[in-house]
Structures are given as structure tokens and as C-alpha cells.
Symmetry: C2
Subunit: 334 residues, 2 copies
């Protein structure tokens, strides 16, 4: 089952979307919003599944699904927490600035509490008041949970995952050092994130979803050129079950909690930092990482951060090269 | 106008509460939940004000207002961000551990993104799975905003403040050093916060609300003994207009955003760390601060963190010693 929220009011209008993303059907008679569906998932999910089946069979009224008209599946949420599960990425960033990485980083997930009061739709421009802030994309996998009890095990956490999707976790890199130095984590450096047009249930992903990971390539284009083709199922040190359980260690998680993987990142085949796609590598899922690799290999970062008018495209494909979650495509500044 | 949410479902049932907190009237015909009221505040607030006036005049059906039956006014919210506006508190904590405090801390607010997917009601027990986590109370002032545009000025931010209340921002002190060392801020160390039974509009507070500060004593009792009597209007380095503008620097804030003051803290009359109430001082609004003062003055902290069965009471009074926002009263572990 694939679910989306068409732009309407603060919370959107819930629709089920056909497998090929061509059609959708209004789900308001089941739940007006995706949050409402998540709040009563056990009762409503089977009804939404039936609607989805009917839509795929073409036996109910349907409308074309236009990704441009979609909001984030949860246009606002009660929780967004982002992990840093691809520890390779963290190790590279620290190597570039000459900082040791504690061994605990391989065993204890990094996670920050993000702002969730308003998200960007998949085709919304990225607002950027000041290029000097160092705007970056971060292509990531996300999951949406149901209610998770405090102290949940990894298996309980995995069982609570309701939906899977993609995000562009926009970051203002030049504001990060000052904020981290203050010790309270990210705040101004993390403006609104964008999400893929549809979120998908794990069972619909079949074998692509296993061991708490999405086993597909995360495609990232920058200004029309291939930029990232990392395999999201590889080098993910902490699977989503572990990330959700980490988040729930001392408190319950409310239904509709979104948990992110952090920037997807693969080691190069030789075990070193990833190479650009033009050099035969899988590229990168954020600009900070290519700048880090440039710093390590050449002494200085040459790739600039995002400028007004730059375009970012993030998606994942099925075996026939059709987007699974739709496409995030954003222009900086709009 | 005073607003509360009676426990019902995930978001409570909105009521207006009489000035003396004795009575309430259902507001569901105006807005089913406080979030719904905040989402359409300009249109709905005058209707709620009329209901409030009618309630105070006793001309509409009313029911007794039982604080025990109240949820947090926003039982879950789209954003909870907590400042550290009483810089005196930060300076003391750093002094105790021998860390310098950067001068910027006096000019640039500290703020962290908190979890907002589920809050405790004012009389709910504080869940605590492990006393070794070092459970602490933090008595604070909070405001709830309407929509705030990105880059809002302090004056715009002040004008966007819809409601004022109190919180007990529960903290797990022994988990904080490890989390801050990882650099991503608080997460597991900040379980669910509790809020006062009612939130109050700034105009209803009259002269107690001025310059973006609440000019009342924040009362804190611990196990039935006076523990804190700090004046919330004093030593607040950053007023709420400044805190809200800080939060909105790079992004919009959605209606229903809750912004906290951080632990209220007063310097002693001689300019040094505050003294206990028994020693003629105004006491403390969290255990970490008394432990810090003990460390500075005696070399070691002697006051323990909260234990199962401890009770915490937080409130503020009008001139006749009646609670303005109702009373937060929680038992650890329940």
C-alpha cells in the first residue's frame, strides 16, 4: 500500500496511490489525514488496504496522482528524530577535520531531535534566505512508527514500523559548528525537511525491506547530473529496529513518529572514502561528504554548497526503473 | 482566558476554565482540541473569549474543573523547544564542573529541540524505569505561539505568543554527559515533560506579563517542603520574544509551538549562587542547581536526584495565593 497527502489545509487530504503512482483514490471516508490513520492503524489499515486493492484493480473512482500536488505525507508530525546510521559518513567527516571518532560510535547510535512542525512537499522549493549559511541536501531513508512503548526491544520496534519513505533533510552546514559548540545539538542549522510524495508499507516493499533496512539504491541528482547512487542496504551500521529502539529507550514514541537513517553513505570498494560517480564510484548523498573527501584527498573542499536555483532530485527505483516512493525534486529558493 | 484539555483520546477535549479554576465549560462546539483552536486562532479566540466571559458570569452550563482529570493543555504538540534563558543557571552548572562559559552565552540563546509526541498531564506520575538515570525536575515557564514567519523580529515573535503556562521538564541527568559528548544534543535524557493544568492568554495575566517575561514567583515544593521560590521575571537574560525569534531565525514555526524558558534561576542578593530557602534564599527550580551549589561551596553534591515515591509540586500564585495556572503535582514512579 502506498499513501500520500494531497495539499489541503495544514494536514493534507489522505489518498491511497496505485502501485505505479499513476492514480490515487480519496481515503477521507476512512481517515481524513495520514495522522488520523496512524492514530487508529490496526482498525483503519485493513480498510485502506482494501481501497488500495480496489484502486489497483480499477474498480473504484480514481484521479490522476500528480506529485506536484502532494504535500509531505505527514505535512507536520509530532516527532521527527534523525539517526546517523551510516557511520562511514560520520567517520569521514571527523577524519576531514582531524577529529578522532570514539569507538562507541560503532555501537551506540547518534540521533538528534528534529523540528516536525512543518515539512516541505516533494516539489516545494527549499527556502534559503542566505547562501552563506551553507545549504546542503541530505538524502535519507525514513520510517514512520505506530505507538512504541518505552524500553521496546529491536524486534518490537521493527514490528511498530508502519511506513517507509525518503527525505531530503536540508541542513545549513555553516551554522552547525557554532550550534554544536554550544552543546545543545542542532536547531537553526536544521530548517524544514522535504519528504517523498508517497510512503509505502513494509510488506509492499517485499524483499527490498529486510533486516530493518531498505535494500535499494538511493538515487541523487544535482542540477541534472548523477551525484549519488549509494546502496541504502549496505554500510548501514544501525538498522531501523535499532534506531527506533534507541529513540524509545527512556520514553514512549507516539504514533506518527518519523525516524531517519541519516545521510546514506557507502565505502568505496577498496574500503576508502567513496568516489564520485564520474570516477566510477557510487557518489554521495550530501555535499558535506564530497567536500570531506575533497579535503582528505586534496587538502581543500572545492564543491560549493547549494546556491539559489540549484536543483536536487532524490528517488529510489524498482527493477523497471520506476520510482517506488515518487520523486523529491526541489529548486533552491524557488 | 484560561484553557485546558480534559483527558480524552490522544488530544484531549478543549474546555475554557473560570478565572478561579473552579469551573469549566466545554468548548467543543468552537474547537474540539486546543491545537484546532490554535490552528484557526484569529477566528476562534474571540468565540472562546465570549465563552470564558459567560462562564465567569455563570450564565452557561458549567462543570467543576478537576485538575486531576486534565491532560497537558496540548497532550501532544508539533513542536517543543526549550531555551536556557536564565543564564545564571548555566553559569553555575559550568562553574561546578570547572568549565569556562563562553561570553557568547550572554548574547546568543541556548535552545534544544525537545520531544513533543506525548506529554504528561499535571497530576500524572513521572515514569522512571531506573533511578540510576538521575531523574530531575526542571520548573520552567512556557509560551505557546501561533504561526511565526521565518526571520521574525522580537516584536513579531512577542505578538505571536498566544498562551503562557508552566512545565516540569523532566530530565535524566546521568544520561546527559554521554549524550552531550556525542554532540547531537539531548534525546534519551529528556523523557516526557508535564504541563500546568491550564494555559492562560497574556492579556489575562495583565501586568504579570510584560517585556516578554512572567513576573511571578515560581513555586516549587519537593516532598512537601518549600524548595524553590525564584522570581521568574528576574535574571531572565533572554525574554520570550528573543527566544521565539531565535527559534524562527531560519524557519517558520507552526501554530502550537511550545517554547520553554529553561530552568528558572535567581542569583542570590549578594550576586553569588542562590541559597536554600531554609537559609533565607529563594531556593532552586531543579535538583541539578542545588547539587551544583553544594559542589561549589562544599566540594560534593549531597542532595540526591528523585527517587521512587518522591513528590514534586510546581505552581505560581496570584496576590491572594491562588494558583494562576493550576498546580503540577507529580509522584515519581506513581
Amino acid at each position: 500500500m502506498k499513501l500520500a497527502s494531497m495539499k489541503q489545509g495544514r494536514d493534507g487530504r489522505l489518498v491511497v496511490v496505485s502501485s505505479d503512482l499513476a492514480w490515487c483514490a480519496d481515503a477521507a471516508h476512512i481517515a481524513p489525514t495520514l495522522q488520523a490513520a496512524l492514530d487508529d492503524w490496526d482498525r483503519l489499515a485493513p480498510l485502506l488496504e482494501n481501497l488500495s486493492t480496489d484502486l489497483d484493480h480499477g474498480v473504484i473512482p480514481r484521479e490522476r496522482f500528480h506529485e506536484h500536488d502532494a504535500a509531505a505525507p505527514l505535512p507536520r508530525a509530532y516527532q521527527w528524530a534523525d539517526g546517523s546510521a551510516y557511520v562511514n559518513h560520520v567517520a569521514l567527516v571527523r577524519q576531514a577535520r582531524g577529529a578522532d571518532m570514539p569507538d562507541t560510535f560503532w555501537h551506540d547510535p547518534l540521533m538528534y531531535q528534529g523540528g516536525s512542525d512543518g515539512f516541505l512537499g516533494p516539489r516545494d522549493p527549499i527556502p534559503l534566505a542566505d547562501e552563506a549559511w551553507g545549504c546542503d541536501l541530505e538524502a535519507e531513508i525514513v520510517v514512520v512508527t505506530g505507538d512504541v512503548p518505552p524500553g521496546a526491544s529491536r524486534d518490537e520496534a521493527l514490528a511498530a514500523i508502519r511506513l517507509v519513505g525518503l527525505t531530503n533533510d536540508v541542513s545549513l552546514r555553516n551554522l552547525i559548528p557554532g550550534e554544536l559548540a554550544k552543546g545543545f545539538g542542532f536547531f537553526q542549522s536544521k530548517p524544514a525537511s522535504a519528504f517523498s510524495p508517497v510512503f509505502v508499507t513494509p510488506d509492499t516493499l517485499g524483499d527490498w525491506w529486510r533486516d530493518g533496512k531498505l535494500h535499494r539504491v538511493l538515487m541523487v541528482d544535482l542540477n541534472g547530473q548523477p551525484f549519488g547512487r549509494a546502496q541504502a542496504g549496505e554500510d548501514m551500521t544501525f538498522d531501523f529496529g535499532t534506531l527506533v529502539a534507541h529513540a524509545a529507550k527512556t520514553r514512549a514514541l507516539g504514533a506518527g513518529t518519523i525516524i531517519g537513517s541519516g545521510t546514506v553513505s557507502n565505502r568505496d570498494a577498496d574500503g576508502g572514502p567513496g568516489k564520485p560517480i564520474a570516477a566510477g564510484g557510487v557518489g554521495y548523498s550530501c555535499l558535506a561528504e564530497v567536500r570531506t573527501v575533497e579535503t582528505i584527498t586534496g587538502g581543500t573542499a572545492t564543491t560549493p554548497f547549494l546556491k539559489q536555483g540549484d536543483t536536487v532530485r532524490i528517488w529510489a527505483e524498482d527493477d523497471r526503473h520506476h520510482p517506488i516512493f515518487g520523486v523529491i525534486e526541489q529548486v533552491v529558493g524557488g
